[in-house]
Amino acid sequence: MNVRTVFAAALAVAALAGGPALAKDVVIGTEGAYAPWNLSNPDGSLDGFEIELMKNVCPRAQLNCTFVTHDWDTMIESLNANKFDVILDGLSITPDRAKVIAFSIPYASTPVGFATLKDSPLANLPETGTTVTVTGDPAHDKAEVAKFLDAFKGKTIGVQTATIYTKFLDDFFGPVATIREYKTVAERDADLIAGRVDATFDDETALGASLATKGNEDMVLTGPEMAGAAWGPGIGLGLRQSDTDLKTAFDKAIKAAIDDGTVKTLSEKWFKLDVTPKQ
């Protein structure tokens, strides 16, 4: 019993000795499984648009940034639980989220769309290849969606859980289709290939990366690209509401990166298009 108590006590001390988050040292939480925004290489190192962007932005903000990986669906709770200091995972700025966390200014803004299998009745939806604006106004968006809503009657749509896309799907497609939520993009895509869901819904750049993954040769994009204010001002860093100095530092650095074209360059490298948010 003595040995065991000592062991347990030592463990507690070691845990409590984990370093505090000073203003200079910042821990960034990312998924490492949301290509091409952030991904894990086979040797475990992280790469992707956001990782490279942060490696550029952090020195500008005079911050010493380290990365840790974490599941997407508990990012916000874990940020508030001090598991890390920043969320970097294609996090869209929304009023609901702004109630519990703070955001930096957006560093990217991308359209959203569907993907399905080549031989599915949902391939080649009306409006495929065009861009449609979704403003966030329910009446306007409902009219836009109505153009291809019928095709989804009785179908199942797969989406990653806890995303803003989930709410959009629930509101507009919920009445006619079943929405299935998945913890990770990989699991959602696996179920698309397996035929458990008829289509998936995600940011177009991420869908592009899914299509390029080995094993997903039968996937195609379908339907229009939906861009606009429905997805909020864009994608930004998630921060704790109490870390105001961190927000100021990041805002300044991100603005500098946008202004001097760094974001544009990285975006063309990873997405083949420019995702700089419209100011």
């Binding site: 019993m1 984990g18 988050a21 499984a33 598991k83 200091d85 094993g215």
Partner: protein
């Protein structure tokens, strides 16, 4: 069906990745068991107490930890524990304090195993012959001495089979720690499977590694039980 080169150790092989997970599983389960032993001993003592209040406390503990799913307990400790430790840290001006996933996992599985270990310890304690305790009292041994020299050696010997079961249970419960992101075997299998899209290969590989851990533990406990059984020869220590 299964590409064995993927499970190897060379370039592009995930073998080392999975083995690291297996080692982590072992380590976190060991820590969990230690934590569970400490808490379990306390709960057993509470349940054996003459005071009704302690017995109620002990019973409440076992009811909660055997009635609530392990997954929920681990989630609760992961988020709730962070809140508590964060608040604790704030008291000392340490703003960013938060327990690492390892500690959360070990404490979670430990507290669950404690409810089972308490039952094992309670049964073992009641199996210690009353005559031995009376003799110790008659000899004038202090409580601490009696505990250290008479009770503990016998209780842990009687507990061994039960603890073997609890170990196996905890080994499998440790797979749930994957939801905290700790790099143990289940999570390593998940990441490898998601990364390569070869779910079958990596879940089978992970499963096989768990079976290896289970089988080895079985052997180890079997050996330990046989050794300990030597001391039971004859009167079985039961007066």
């Amino acid at each position: 069906m299964i590409d064995f080169s993927l499970l190897g150790f060379g370039q592009g092989g995930w073998g080392a990745w999975l083995l690291a997970g297996a080692v982590m599983t072992l380590v976190v389960t060991l820590c969990a068991l230690f934590i569970g032993a400490v808490v379990g001993a306390l709960v057993a003592a509470a349940k054996l107490s003459k005071r009704r209040l302690w017995r109620v406390v002990g019973d409440t503990y076992t009811t909660i930890f055997r009635g609530v799913p392990e997954l929920l307990i681990i989630y609760l400790i992961y988020f709730g524990g962070s809140g508590a430790i964060g608040a604790f840290g704030n008291l000392f001006g340490n703003k960013g304090l938060s327990p690492p996933a390892f500690l959360v996992g070990a404490v979670g599985v430990g507290l669950i195993s404690a409810s089972y270990q308490a039952e094992v310890f309670r049964g073992s304690f009641m199996a210690v012959a009353a005559g031995e305790i009376e003799a110790a009292r008659a000899l004038g041994m202090s409580r601490l001495l009696r505990f250290r020299r008479i009770i503990v050696p016998q209780v842990w010997r009687f507990s061994l089979p039960g603890l073997g079961n609890v170990w196996q249970l905890s080994l499998k419960d440790s797979a749930l720690i994957s939801v905290t992101g700790l790099a143990e075997l289940m999570r390593q299998s998940q990441v490898a499977a998601g990364s390569t899209h070869l779910y079958f290969t990596f879940y089978v590989a992970g499963g096989v590694l768990y079976l290896v851990l289970t089988a080895l533990s079985d052997r180890a406990f079997g050996v330990a039980e046989r050794r300990v059984a030597r001391s039971f020869r004859g009167s079985l220590g039961r007066g």
